[in-house]
Amino acid sequence: MLKSNVFSKKTRNNKIKKEVREVYLRDDICCGVSSCTTCESPTASSATRLTASTILVVDTNVVLHQIDLLENPAIDDVVVLSVVLDEVKNKNLSVYNRIRALCSNSLRKFYVFANKFHKDTHVEKMEKESPNDLNDRAIRVATQWYQKHLGGATRVLLVTNDRENKRKATEEGIFAETIESYVKSLEQPDLLDLVVQPASVDVNMEDIEDSRPSKRKVIYAEHKPMSEITSGLRHGIYHQGKLRVNRYNPFEAYVGSESIGDEIIIYGRTNMNRAFDGDIVAVELLPQEQWHEEKSLSIADEEEEEEDVHLAPSSADDAPRSTTPVNAADQIPVPSRPSGRVVGIIKRNWHSYCGSLDPMPMPAGSGSIAYALFVSKDRRIPKIRIQTRQLGNLLNKRIVVTVDSWDRQSRYPFGHYVRVIGDIGDRDTESEMVLIENDIDARPFTAQVLACLPPLPWSVSSEDLANPIRIDLRQIRVFSVDPPGCKDIDDALHCTALPNGNYEVGVHIADVTNFVHPGSPLDDEASKRGTSVYLVERRIDMLPKPLTEDICSLRADVERLAFSVIWEMTPEAEIISTRFSKSVIKSCAALSYVEAQARMDDSRLMDPLTTDLRNMNSLAKVMRQRRIERGALTLASAEVKFQIDTETHDPLDIGMYQIREANQMVEEFMLAANVSVAAQILQIFPVCSLLRRHPSPTREMLEPLLLTAAAVGINLDVSSSKALADSLDRAVGDDPYFNKLIRILATRCMTQAVYFCSGDLSPPEFHHYGLAAPLYTHFTSPIRRYADVFVHRLLAASLGIFQLPTIFQDRPQLTSVADNLNYRHRNAQMASRASVELHTLIYFKKRPTDTEARIVKIRSNGFIVFVPKFGIEGPVYLTSKGQKGGGEWYVDEQQQKIIKMDSSLSYSVLQTLRIHMEVVEPQPNRPKLQLTLI
């Protein structure tokens, strides 16, 4: 083994420092080619073997810009040099992660050659050579080495888009090609669409622009150079923040800025200045007199965009952002929020988007290059111009597109096609879109993950029974209560009357951590997925099916492993003692909510199981009452349930989800178990517990609720959750649905509860507002939530029966796990909602319906209504689109009323009216639900 030292210099923040790093050059690095006999692969990790007669060596610019092409299976047998990887890592981390994933994918033939450390391919910096040239030379040296090493039998091709590098390579006798010419030589025309056009080729594009009436002129202001932005930020002229585009109005965006402690509103694409949703931008404030120039009250203000009918939001995070002036009570319309414009983009958040092409006439010659406009499903994204040779194929498809650039002269950004998802309107395609948009991995589990499963058929072994940490509860009458047809049963209960008049109540949770070991591929996959995702017609599991539906599922009449929380309770539901233990149980019945409810209601039944149910129910009622007295909110959401045709998977009926006493009973005990577990883990692990908190809503967040309530003459006290709960109870109107409507409105003012690591916050912040509990966590659904798996490990460790995995000692990593769980959780919810929306649309396509609706919000040209029966919400326009604002109607802010000028007609908030619902397709491929007043 040859070793040698190399000296390199490195500068660090303004100081010039000489750094000396050793480099050990090796002769044991394998070339990764299967036909090569000289290289002995020392480790199994370099199992990837390149087999083809042509081997590609890719340059950095190819990896950076053509990663979508490389991900296509048509490109294979690629050598990725370590210098290329390093450079990619420095320039774009997300591309680096993608190329790394390719290299580790056993199905693809990508091989990483550590040329830096190979004795023959190591290059030393020459006098006056730039780092770029050095890398280019290293790539050429490595290519040459490969060619020499493999001899004439294999052709080694350098793929580079750097003209200078290609010229030098050809001079040195290396086969070199640009990516375009290589892809052309493969003779697969659809691949060519994946090739990103370098910016210099934009000359062709100008012709296209010219042919349109819009003159080629500068549309957007120039982005300020980075140096100016940094100094501007330092002097407080500019403000930095993440741009978030309004989900319901893509021409309005918000930048949350710490420097002024408020959100800056940005109106219109010109002010947004080519920024995408999620970009980190620098914003300049507009002069104050321009702050209110765009009246935000109208539903839509530019071009053809309009507000859609959508599911009623379930929390403040989902709801359309209200821009109603907060201090509406004042008579002078003072613009309360600053508005600004984007002057520069600090960090782009470009990724791939799914949607479809704007319909356009086919160009004359097929197969020639055509330009098309791509419309994203996500309304926050502007249209994207792409170049394609297969327009005919793509027109009626859902496709994925990536953004490449956006220059000042073009109205739309320029991107390229990545892949086809399927036909427009096809339910499977649309469902897959939902998954892609929400970043949900629905791929089948890999062989490595499945290898972690215990062999089937599985049953409780004698070792499990003999294990001293496991108590044997098989004799106890344990049962489960779940929704009908539930296969992944993760909780079961028991309730035994004790001789002293108290009750022993147990909650038994599937012992998932007995099968999912920390650090295993199965665990990694589950932590990445974070949660199971429930769509209307399918479920995407967090853990493989054998675990969720068989091994862990606490089914009736089979022995299963469980993690139990057992309390001794007085008949008044006071907890006397709590203990936790791993256990073996044998459930005697898997009931559905309906069955359980029927048993409790049927006074003739006196069997032990029914008695247990009744005892539990009475305990649960006491616990629930106590919780409500403590100030827990009874919130309502408009959850709907579909009846799906088993054959066609089309929705047959929609209805509100009915909640029974049995649901509340199970829920109550789950809450209690979660609270007990939270207290236990926090006591033993004060800084590394995973808990769940629900922040109290601020007064601003509750403002829309108060405004609405005041308009109908109800005074809500929001000083505490207790006060709010009480005043919600008092808010009873003329009709039975009124109270529920107010509760629904209250729910959507709240934020969502989030997971967090107990070391990151101080104890008062642990509070769960909605449940009025000082501590809360998730313990009861480890089959479908990863947070619960985590908590199971913490609980086991707190009992001393399981070693705490190392990740708990690493606070940043723990925080990132919690963040990922929140992200996945939120995405799963968004996906479920999107799936329901999709099915609602399919449902109403065939059935235009007249129904009752309630007004929930007044706008200047109409109002937003909520349809209780179907749980959806959408705009009803009083004036047609052309006449802005109408002039015919005016809005009474305080009364929350919209009144016709001649006072002949008026509509006020929460009023009931009848509407007609129908699916219309104003733009092709964008069907939407339209609500009209009858």
């Binding site: 100081k15 050793e22 990483v112």
Partner: protein, 242 residues
Amino acid sequence: MEFVSPEGLRLDGRRPTEMRQLRAEIGVVSKADGSAMFEMGNTKVIAAVYGPREVQNKGQQINNDHALVRCEYSMANFSTGDRVRKPKGDRRSIEISLVIRQTMEACIMTHLMPRSQIDIFVQVLQADGGTRSACINAATLALADAGIPMCDLVTSCSAGYLNSTPLLDLNYIEDSAGGADVTVGILPTLDKVTLLQMDAKLPTNIFEDVMQLATEGCKAIANYIREMLAENTKQLEFRRDS
């Protein structure tokens, strides 16, 4: 940060269980009774031993039957990249001096040299991680060069745990990554541990792997030091004969 690439190579091209290049020279300070220079990659230290000699400060002598071992560790101002003048006797130096003294005391047969003192001076000429280990190795060589009776050699090596991989002989970048750093000193023939230090935390099972790795590193160093000493003895023999 990625300290071990998926290809199994570290930042400097080593594999996880490989040590840096060792180099040693005996007799570099001719005035001293024994001296040695020891290099582990870019870490370079020099050790000089004076004694056994009469106790200079009688007050320091606690035990009359045993020799007094003193040790002074220092870093040259130029040993790190930036030239900062460090005050002599800072906490870190005092700690390392103590560590080295205790480690060496364990193998020196002090009872053979009552009422005498042995001074060990180690200085870091160039620091690139693992200075503690390099100092101990240099001191062993210097003591042997001075002809001081020892029951065994003492050798030391460090190991760490980054990217879920145990790594042998950390260099400066790996050392400052914030992972655990285990320094082990052993008596290779007697197979005993005389020094065990760790900063940061590790679960016990992983710690055992890391310590095992470090111990193996110590043994490899012991072999190298024995070779060096044998070579040195041969040369001495040759010089005497000629």
